[in-house]
Symmetry: C2
Subunit: 338 residues, 2 copies
């Protein structure tokens, strides 16, 4: 099949690779209807994470079940499914406690930027739609494989409540989905920290009530003014750098919680400040499978349209351009069509 592979820093290619095959009886193979590039793919792309040269890349997709292993009982070829980026048995103690991203059988969807994806723990991981969905819904369904549940997890972790105030640090696709999550949860004040006009516009469309373009001290000052001098009840950290984490703690009111979903890179947590202000931190890899059924209902009912984060659609063969566009922040998130 054709699939995207990574060979080095800023070197991704679309190549012929062997078709994925069932390795375990709990596996499934999904023929991809739409895949995409994840913000976290940019870490290896930029040379900041180690890679195995020539390996396939991509872990988010939707599509049609092509083949299932002998122990897969809930899915059969032809089912249209959403594929979570992390796979789980959905039955171990951690899954039952809602932390499917720490499943004892945790895995990662493979070759999601190709023609076929290999999905482990299919029964525990996949969620089927009711028949083949309208292609107009594809983008929003694809967003459910990672970016929307991740933004949702930031909001859940931060303890967003109806009527409360929320700051979202990060205007990537996850941050924008965090804005959407806070809006669905009924937050009254939603402040998106963003300097990019197209992202500001989408944040507003997703429910942001305020945009703060300033960073650092000026940004914190602006948030304080909006929140009556108090700071935000809940803060969503959706980047993962030391600067963004610092910004998150700077805008949190005493007693607030920072929900973090950006994979931390070089972050040193301000433990004494956390102690003095009673500001907590919670989050991590999103337990996609936990949120997927409810989020699917919201998409199908037309209540959320997270697919709007895809502001560029390219054929699979142009995956290298998809990476460039995201790396250079010309695109928020790129959908790839096999």
């Amino acid at each position: 099949m054709r699939a995207t592979t990574i060979h080095g820093t800023r070197d991704v290619r679309v190549e012929d690779v062997p078709d994925p095959a069932i390795r375990r009886p709990t596996d499934a193979i999904v023929k991809i209807a739409a895949g995409c590039v994840c913000g976290s793919d940019l870490w290896p792309y930029r040379g900041e994470n180690p890679i195995q040269a020539g390996s396939t890349i991509g872990h988010e997709c939707i599509g049609v079940v092509e083949e299932v292993g002998a122990e897969v009982s809930d899915f059969r070829p032809g089912d249209f499914v959403i594929v979570p980026f992390c796979t789980c048995d959905n039955s171990c103690p951690h899954c039952l406690a809602g932390v499917q991203s720490a499943c004892v059988n945790l895995g990662m969807t493979a070759s999601g930027q190709g023609e076929y994806a290999l999905v482990g723990q299919a029964d525990g991981s996949l969620v089927a739609t009711d028949g083949v969905p309208d292609p107009e819904l594809f983008a929003s369904l694809l967003a459910l494989s990672d970016v929307m549940p991740t933004g949702w997890h930031a909001a859940v972790s931060a303890g967003v409540t109806a009527g409360g105030s929320v700051v979202v640090v990060g205007d990537g696709a996850v941050g924008l989905c965090g804005v959407l999550a806070a809006s669905v949860m009924g937050a009254e004040t939603i402040i998106a920290m963003s300097r990019h006009e197209s992202r500001q516009q989408l944040a507003s469309a997703f429910g942001a009530t305020h945009i703060v373009a300033e960073r650092g001290r000026e940004g914190a000052k602006a948030v304080k003014e909006i929140t009556g001098g108090v700071g935000a009840d809940a803060v969503l950290e959706c980047v993962g750098t030391d600067d963004s984490m610092g910004a998150a703690f700077a805008v949190a009111r005493p007693g607030a919680m920072v929900g973090f979903v950006g994979v931390p890179h070089g972050v040193e947590l301000p433990v004494r400040k956390m102690f003095q202000k009673n500001v907590g931190l919670r989050g991590g890899i999103a337990p996609v499978r936990r949120y997927l059924p409810d989020l699917l209902d919201l998409v199908v009912a037309g209540r959320i349209d997270p697919g709007r984060v895809f502001d560029l659609t390219l054929p699979l063969e142009e995956a290298p351009e998809a990476y460039r566009a995201m790396d250079e922040r010309r695109a928020i998130k790129v959908l790839l069509q096999p």
Copy 2:
């Protein structure tokens, strides 16, 4: 008056100092019936926090209101009161949100190891008992000025729930009060990590169902065995060192929360591990005033007896011996009688 003062590392004295005087119209002066040494007093005693040589020390006490400032309306001379170690107006946005320890008028009770204490924001801070209490209750009432609300705050911050599993790291007075808090909250499994027999016994009396004497990897292994291989739902970190924080994260199950109340000294938080396991951290300086009324009810009703953490009572003049006994871990916590 006579009061305890600190002059240098392991140099505390009981000396004549000027009587405290009302400085602000919201102040009160309390004639101390019982004071005590706090675990946090050991940091300056051991030379690990800067001090001002000759200053009074001590911030926990109970006693009788002696004098009030012109703007104090809820208390009058003769009232028997519990004095929180941190004082607050109990009316600012942070207080109203239950974070009285971040009050915009936050202060610290002064000269609590003396004959008279100076208490700021008296109306917002003090809580009166119903008449002069039975002296047999003094120890438990004194525990309400810091150590019991702090253990309680650890349990609240860690999200202890009825039926859940809890690990308490630290067998000082705060940790032991954390065990008591978890017990009142209905936790089913309460694991106290302690190597000292007298503290193990008190932990059991306070409701610990298991004692783990091992530390490091062995300690984490023991907790895992007790919790069926899963780890604890909630962890109370009641020490404040890097080792104790590491122990707390090592025993937390994925999705758990670590509640921390030990003033952090040299702590580096394991942010990547927190992310991978979705283990959160929340806590800080305890908002004593928030919990005081309810905890007072529990003490008066005989439902909790946190005063048992005082395993040594000395006259005020022997404050230096009180410090030595706690420094050398011969005593859990020492009550001082003026």
